[in-house]
Symmetry: C2
């Protein structure tokens, strides 16, 4: 590996919610003074985006940009990832893919940097960024797994509109304004405005929706526990940003809530906010724009001999997507720097 | 018991959300052509309310109205119930109390008419109406308990603003309008607008909030299973009316989802809405103004040998409060009529 190797970063899907969040995250966590190439579909190309004080033009998607790329972030449609992630990786770029296409593929690392960065090897260069609901839960469960063992996970999600993209978020805002104006009955029953929708993603197997299957399977893969019993129920709620999760777990060993608070408070990427008397707990509103995964309401569940219940919230566009992807790139960069020192 | 006995119905707390819902429910389900007396605190007295086509005046609270009452509904403050429920019952009225004060008291029946109406004896005349989140869960769990046995219950709630009263609901609407106008950052972090708040009720024991303790304890009492392991997490979400619940249960016997759908579809007070392909499931928006408890997303949870996961929604002001209270009065009336026949 040479010190003069390209540090070019390519972002595919630069105009979506996650793409925009990746740009903002790269501003805050500069990997290197790399050139950045922003790409989007024809419809969104030519838009102007501010990055580190200069105005950048979004280019129309063109795979020749992968030729001398160091990292390519994919945050576009699944079909684009499916076709072009292997091509970009084949050209020697590190590919960090936010789609669901490769997450469960054998040999593709599915990485949360606080949990399993060591799974990034010299190859393959294609790395999958997990589903938003999964990242925040994996960050919290990993230290618990290490210290107390993990036997069973039951999670119900409270997912924000932004998880379904910018158009869905805009629709929530429009519908909410309309509902306030016309009264409750004026809206279609399928609107998210002042509503909860218990069907997130597409229909999958055994009466489950894809968001639930992703959460269950990706959690098992990230934690390295292929047989962990997990039951996820995914519900969309009328929030804009920030996914909440109500979690009950059975542990192998007794886990005292105070001990768990200390443990999690010292763990990377986690902020414990658990002030019972002052009623200060994580909420989507407080987590919006924040990097940490917030956890609170840590208590005994009272239904297994050893158990815990808690409440987790994170910004689904940051730790749930953009920040986690950039952290993967930062990890790779640090490892490359260390390798240079030892050459 | 004499046929000429008074049928006077008194409603304490007539101007609150639950009080208003009781008036509307009495219009739809006439107990008898009874005289109705509406009472409220001094602040709300003198308001005019329409009942069966005539305008009624809300009177200032006066316990002498209990003297010749047949049924007294209490839907005011806890303190009022605590003091006056026993007085009204002592005067011979059937008292149906919507407060939490007497629900867990020994000897006070806590009644969901679909589940345990037989617990209403000739005495005491004080009957507690359960917490809104509890009623809808008890209605669904009772047929499951009878047919498959019940070993463990894990529930996470998605509770609407109306559960915290009319002022809280109005505040949600104002805050939501303000948030849409000013943008996300313009509001206090504790606002429910586009937010989820995981602290419903007052602080109780073992890191739990009172709504959670109510759900756990009242469920055990209604189902007659004092040792049932139940873990409840109560979360307020930005909906106006209708409480959602994500439920996972362990059963004694294998419970096939299709069999459970048939069973629940034939059970009183339950509407199964579970169209996986068409994505038709219960939502707060659809349940608003409806009498039934809606259940869907019935599937195997996949974490116990015998288990189920499902999603329950009901109108918290109707089956969760007013309708359940009126159904208790209707049950008592039917029993009195039957007794007259046999006299």
């Amino acid at each position: 590996m040479s010190a003069t190797k390209s540090r070019k970063v390519v972002l595919v899907g630069a105009t979506g919610l996650v793409g925009s969040a990746i740009i903002q995250t790269l501003e805050r966590f500069p990997i290197d003074p790399e050139p950045l190439v922003l790409m989007a579909t024809k419809k969104s190309a030519d838009r102007k985006v501010r990055f580190r004080g200069t105005e950048m033009r979004v280019e129309e998607f063109d795979p020749s940009a992968f030729d001398d790329a160091w990292v390519v972030f994919f945050s576009g449609k699944d079909g684009l990832s499916e076709k072009y992630c292997p091509i970009a990786a084949g050209k020697g770029a590190w590919v960090i893919d936010n789609s669901a296409v490769f997450r469960m593929a054998d040999g593709v690392p599915l990485v949360v940097p606080e949990v399993n960065p060591h799974e990034i090897g010299p190859a393959p260069r294609l790395i999958a960024n997990p589903n938003c609901s999964t990242v925040q839960l994996a960050v919290v469960l990993n230290p618990i797994r290490k210290n107390f063992g993990l036997k069973r996970v039951i999670v119900s999600t409270y997912q924000s509109a932004s998880g379904a993209g910018s158009e869905y978020l805009a629709q929530l805002n429009r519908d909410t304004a309309e509902s306030l104006e016309k009264g409750f009955g004026g809206l279609d029953a399928s609107s998210l405005a002042f509503n909860c929708l218990p069907d997130v993603g597409s229909q999958d197997i055994d009466g489950k929706f894809s968001e639930e299957v992703k959460l269950e399977n990706e959690l098992r893969k990230i934690l390295g526990m292929p047989d962990l019993p997990v039951c996820a129920t995914a519900v969309r709620v009328p929030t804009q940003v920030g996914h909440g999760e109500s979690v009950v777990i059975e542990t192998e060993k007794p886990a005292d809530p105070d001990e768990v608070r200390s443990l999690l408070g010292e763990s990377d990427g986690i902020a414990v906010e658990d002030e019972f008397e002052a009623r200060e707990f994580p909420t989507p509103r407080k987590a919006t724009g924040m990097d940490d995964v917030y956890v609170g309401r840590i208590r005994r569940a009272g239904i297994f001999e050893n158990d815990l219940a808690f409440w987790v919230v994170a910004d689904n566009l940051l730790k749930g997507a953009a920040l986690n992807a950039v952290q993967i790139a930062l990890y790779i960069r640090e490892r490359e720097k260390a390798a240079l020192v030892h050459e």
